[in-house]
C-alpha cells in the first residue's frame, strides 16, 4: 500500500510528534519500506484462528485490596520539569 505525507502527518499527530517537511519525507520513505516489509503477513491464511492476546501462563492474577506502595509528594514531584511543591504543571490546553 502507498504511504502518503498526509498519513505521516496523521500518525505524527497521534504520536504527538512533529516533523519538518524534510523529516516528513524521510519518515514517509522509512515507513513505506517498513510497511512493505510487514505486508508479507497477508500471505498467511489465518482463517478461523484466535488472535493470541496474552503471553505466558498467568491467569487470575489479582491482588488484595491493601494500601501500600505510596511515596511522599517530594519524591513524586522530584523529576518533574515544571512544578511547585504541590502540583505538576503543564501549559494550558488551549492557546490564549
Amino acid at each position: 500500500m502507498e504511504v502518503t505525507e498526509q498519513m505521516i502527518q496523521h500518525l505524527a499527530n497521534l504520536s504527538r510528534l512533529s516533523f519538518s517537511d524534510e523529516e516528513t519525507k524521510a519518515f514517509k520513505n522509512d515507513l513505506q519500506g517498513m510497511i512493505a516489509f510487514v505486508e508479507k503477513l497477508q500471505e498467511v491464511d489465518t482463517t478461523g484462528i484466535q488472535p493470541l492476546q496474552h503471553m505466558g501462563d498467568a491467569v487470575n492474577v489479582l491482588r488484595e485490596d491493601e494500601i501500600q506502595g505510596s511515596i511522599n509528594r517530594t519524591e513524586a514531584l522530584k523529576n518533574s520539569p515544571i512544578k511547585d511543591d504541590t502540583f505538576f504543571k503543564v501549559p494550558k490546553v488551549i492557546k490564549k
Binding site: L14, R63, G69, R73, K89
Partner: protein, 480 residues
C-alpha cells in the same frame, strides 16, 4: 401542535461510579477523598518507566455484585484493554479499561415512573481506572495536575437509549444511586464526584425508527442537574429541528449557573483510541462458584425488602417505601421486626420521632445507638398501655439515647409509668369534675365534645401519667 407530541426525546445515560475499595484499581495507593494533592501516588500511579499494573480483587467483586443486582449477564472470561490518548491527567498516555469487553452485559434497573413501574435496560457495566484532576484556575499560566484520583477504580454503567423523559432519567439516577449505596459498592456522592453522569440526548420525530444526531452532555454533578440539562438540550435540539437547522454531533458542558449547555468540542476532535488487549494484565476467569458466592452474599435489595414488608409484615406501601429508602434504615427495621411483631408501631416510631431525632442530630441509622432490643421494649411499653406514646417519645426516648437501658425501669424511675389503677384514676377524675362544675353541667346538657377537655385536665393533674383511655371511660361513666 404540542411539540412534545411531535417529537420523541431519546436519552442514554452513562454513569461512572467510584468503587468503595481501600486502594486503587491497579496499585496500592489509597483512594480516600480529600487528601492533600499528590499524596496518594506511587511509581505505578505516576507511570514511571518500568512500572506495571496489578488488578484489585475487591474491585472485581464489587463490579460483579453490582452486575448481579442489575440482572446482568456476568461475563466469565475477562481482560482489560488500553485506550490510548494524551492528556496530562492520564499519566500512562492510555487508560486501562474494559470498554471493549465489559464484565457485565445487558441487565436492567427498575424505576417508578409517572406511567408506573418501568425497566431501564442496560447495555453494559465495565471496569476502568479514573484519571487524575486538571486544575485550570489555580495558576495564570499553567494547568495544575493532581494525580491522587488517577487509578481509582470505576465502573461505567451504560443504559440503552431507552429513556424518553427527563423525569425518567431523574428516577433512574436516583434508583441507581440508591442501589450502589445499598450494595456498599459506591458512596454515591455526586458532589464529591464519586458518582458522575453523562447524558446522551437525541431527538426524532415520533414516528421515526432511526435515532437523531446524538449530543453528549457532561459536567452533571447532581441528579437535579441531569434533569435540567436534558430539558435544556431537548428544547434546544427541538428548536433547531423546527427551524430546519442541523444538529451537530458534539460534546457539551452543563453550566449550573444558568442551567444551560455550551459546546466543548466537536466530533472532528474525536480520537482514534487504538484499543488493544493490555499485555501487562493477565486475563481472569470468573467461575460459577465465585459468582454464586457473591450472589448468596448479596443483601436483600430494596424492592425485595419492600415486598416482604408489605406482604408478610403488613406495612403500607408508603411506610415500606420510606423504611427502605436506605439500607441502614431497612436493616434496622428488620432487626427490630425480628424480635417484635408490632410492625406498624415500629414503622410509626421510625418514621416519626426517630426520624426527627436523626434529622436533629444529622445522623443516619448507621450511627443510631438505640439498640433494637431497647427500642423493642419501648414499643412494647406503649403497646401494653404502660406509657403513652407522647411521653414515651418526648421523655423516654431522649434519655434512652443518652444510654441504652431498660425502658420500663427508666419509666418507673422517672415516674412516667402510666397509671391504670382505677382508684388512683378515680381520685384525679373526681378532682377535675369537682373543679369544673360549669363545664360538667354543659357536658351533661349535651356538649359531649368537652370530654376531650376533661381528659386533658386529668392529664395535667396526673402529670401525664393517667392512662387516657381509662380516664375517658371513667369520665363517661361518672358523667352519664
Amino acid at each position: 401542535m404540542n411539540l412534545m407530541d411531535k417529537y420523541q426525546i431519546v436519552i442514554g445515560l452513562e454513569v461512572h461510579a467510584q468503587l468503595q475499595t481501600n486502594s486503587k484499581l491497579f496499585c496500592g495507593d489509597s483512594i480516600a477523598f480529600g487528601a492533600e494533592p499528590n499524596t496518594h501516588v506511587s511509581p505505578v500511579t505516576l507511570a514511571h518507566p518500568g512500572t506495571l499494573p496489578k488488578t484489585n480483587k475487591k474491585a472485581v467483586e464489587y463490579a460483579v455484585r453490582l452486575g448481579i443486582a442489575c440482572n446482568c449477564e456476568i461475563v466469565r472470561y475477562n481482560y482489560f484493554a488500553r485506550k490510548n490518548y494524551f492528556y496530562p491527567d492520564l499519566p500512562k498516555g492510555y487508560q486501562i479499561s474494559q470498554h471493549t469487553t465489559p464484565i457485565c452485559k445487558g441487565g436492567y434497573v427498575t424505576i417508578q415512573s409517572t406511567e408506573g413501574e418501568k425497566q431501564i435496560i442496560l447495555n453494559r457495566i465495565h471496569m476502568e481506572e479514573d484519571a487524575g484532576k486538571s486544575i485550570h484556575d489555580a495558576d495564570d499560566f499553567y494547568t495544575c495536575i493532581d494525580l491522587n484520583r488517577a487509578g481509582t477504580p470505576l465502573v461505567e454503567i451504560v443504559t440503552e437509549p431507552c429513556i424518553h423523559s427527563s423525569e425518567d432519567a431523574f428516577q433512574y439516577i436516583t434508583e441507581l444511586r440508591k442501589l450502589v449505596q445499598w450494595l456498599g459498592v459506591c458512596d454515591g456522592n455526586m458532589e464529591e464526584g464519586s458518582l458522575r453522569c453523562d447524558a446522551n440526548v437525541s431527538v426524532r420525530l415520533k414516528r421515526e425508527t432511526t435515532l437523531g444526531t446524538k449530543v453528549e452532555v457532561k459536567n452533571l454533578n447532581s441528579i437535579r442537574n441531569v434533569k435540567k440539562a436534558i430539558d435544556y438540550e431537548a428544547e434546544r435540539i427541538i428548536g433547531l429541528l423546527e427551524k430546519g437547522e442541523p444538529v451537530i454531533q458534539q460534546t457539551r458542558s452543563f453550566n449550573a449557573d444558568n442551567d444551560t449547555t455550551f459546546s466543548m468540542r466537536d466530533k472532528e476532535d474525536a480520537n482514534d483510541y487504538r484499543y488493544f488487549a493490555d499485555p501487562d494484565l493477565a486475563p481472569f476467569n470468573l467461575t460459577e462458584e465465585y459468582i454464586q458466592n457473591i450472589k448468596e452474599a448479596l443483601p436483600a435489595l430494596p424492592a425485595e425488602l419492600k415486598h416482604t414488608f408489605t406482604t408478610e409484615l403488613g406495612l403500607s406501601e408508603y411506610d415500606a417505601a420510606n423504611i427502605c429508602e436506605d439500607k441502614s434504615s431497612a436493616d434496622y427495621f428488620h432487626s427490630v421486626a425480628a424480635i417484635n411483631k408490632h410492625y406498624k408501631a415500629i414503622a410509626n416510631w421510625m418514621l416519626g420521632p426517630i426520624k426527627q431525632y436523626l434529622n436533629e442530630h444529622q445522623i443516619g441509622y448507621a450511627d443510631f445507638t438505640l439498640l433494637p432490643k431497647t427500642f423493642s421494649s419501648l414499643v412494647n411499653l406503649v403497646q401494653e398501655g404502660k406509657v403513652n406514646f407522647s411521653v414515651a417519645s418526648q421523655k423516654l426516648l431522649p434519655e434512652l439515647m443518652k444510654h441504652n437501658q431498660d425502658p420500663a425501669t427508666l419509666a418507673e424511675s422517672l415516674n412516667l409509668l402510666q397509671v391504670s389503677n382505677v382508684n388512683e384514676l378515680e381520685k384525679w377524675v373526681d378532682e377535675v369534675i369537682a373543679n369544673m362544675p360549669d363545664k360538667v353541667a354543659e357536658y351533661k346538657k349535651g356538649k359531649k365534645g368537652l370530654i376531650g377537655l376533661f381528659v386533658g385536665e386529668v392529664k395535667k393533674v396526673s402529670k401525664g401519667q393517667a392512662d387516657p383511655k381509662m380516664v375517658t371511660e371513667l369520665l363517661q361513666k361518672k358523667l352519664s
